[in-house]
Amino acid sequence: MAVVLGARANLSTRRALLSVCEGRVRKRVGGSRPGRRTNRPRDFDLGAHAILRDYFGVDGEPPVYGEDAFEERFRLSRPVFNRLFRSICNEPAWRRTVSATGRPQAHAIQKVAAAVRVLGYGEPFDGADEYCRLSRSTIDMYTRLLTHFNIDMWASKYLRRTNAEELEHILTCNAARGLPSCMGSIFCTHWTWAKCPKALAGQYKDRNGKITVVIETVCDEDLYI
């Protein structure tokens, strides 16, 4: 028994170390295998139609929910969301594909809406299942793809040092507020890490003993990071 436990502990440690080295645990995702449950008949069109009807309007009718609700639900105002969607909808991973059985797969709008909802609401991956008609593993995957897409596409634009002109603006602003030559304010917060691997738990303790990761940010008066 002790040997078994030891072997198990070893395995989990090794897996944690592996995850640290590689950045992820490799796991086989999806695909139909004999002996497993078949895919649920989710009716992807239904989800896409619901989203289009509620927030974008179908057949010339106005959307059910207005601008306020749109921003509340997607956490982005409509122009910003449209911009995100337009840049993402023709990516190979996001556009509508046909599966090996010849069945059409989910629309891009469903995937984007579900992923944004996970980020915005912090809800579990199967939270939007009933509305967007996507399984939780799909939503998990697309949330991750959305983060990767965002970073690949816009990190050079939105996450970088301020350029000379912005710095000039910030310095002018802060001089008017009484602190000349101040580049902005820096602050950090703790983000609790619920699913921290045991192997790493000791490294990320905060002063209250919770497992957290520190996020550190610099921002200016307009809350531009």
């Binding site: 980020l119 939105y158 030559s181 820096i186 990761v213």
Partner: protein, 138 residues
Amino acid sequence: MLDVNDGTWPPRIYKYTPNGRSRRLLFYAADQGYPRYAIFAQTYSKPDTPRRLVYDLLQEAVRKDAERLYAVWWSRWFITKYPARNMTLPRLINTAKAVAILHNMAVEHRRHGFIASTRIAAAAAVRGAGTGRHDGDD
């Protein structure tokens, strides 16, 4: 903060003269949790002169921006408010970065793009170079 260590950031082209001494290093307003480096301007913990008291007030007003940022960030992107469910740290960092990007996009739109045109022009130049997923820090 690597480029701060290298001396490539912040730019030393701005010259200013506090208290009769000329300096070139711009600074961030920080609280007492940060080390006492020249780049972090901290408050006096016991301001005993009116000058220091006023400085503290002004510095705290500027520092409030970053504290307000987290309030906005938490209330807009709830995923950063709840305990993170990611298994690995790189994935967690990616999530935070992606949320920061979306936040910045929203802020930029809300401000109707102050100096947005220059930002876009600069980004076009930068995007030609292209940066990877894991570099570039806040």
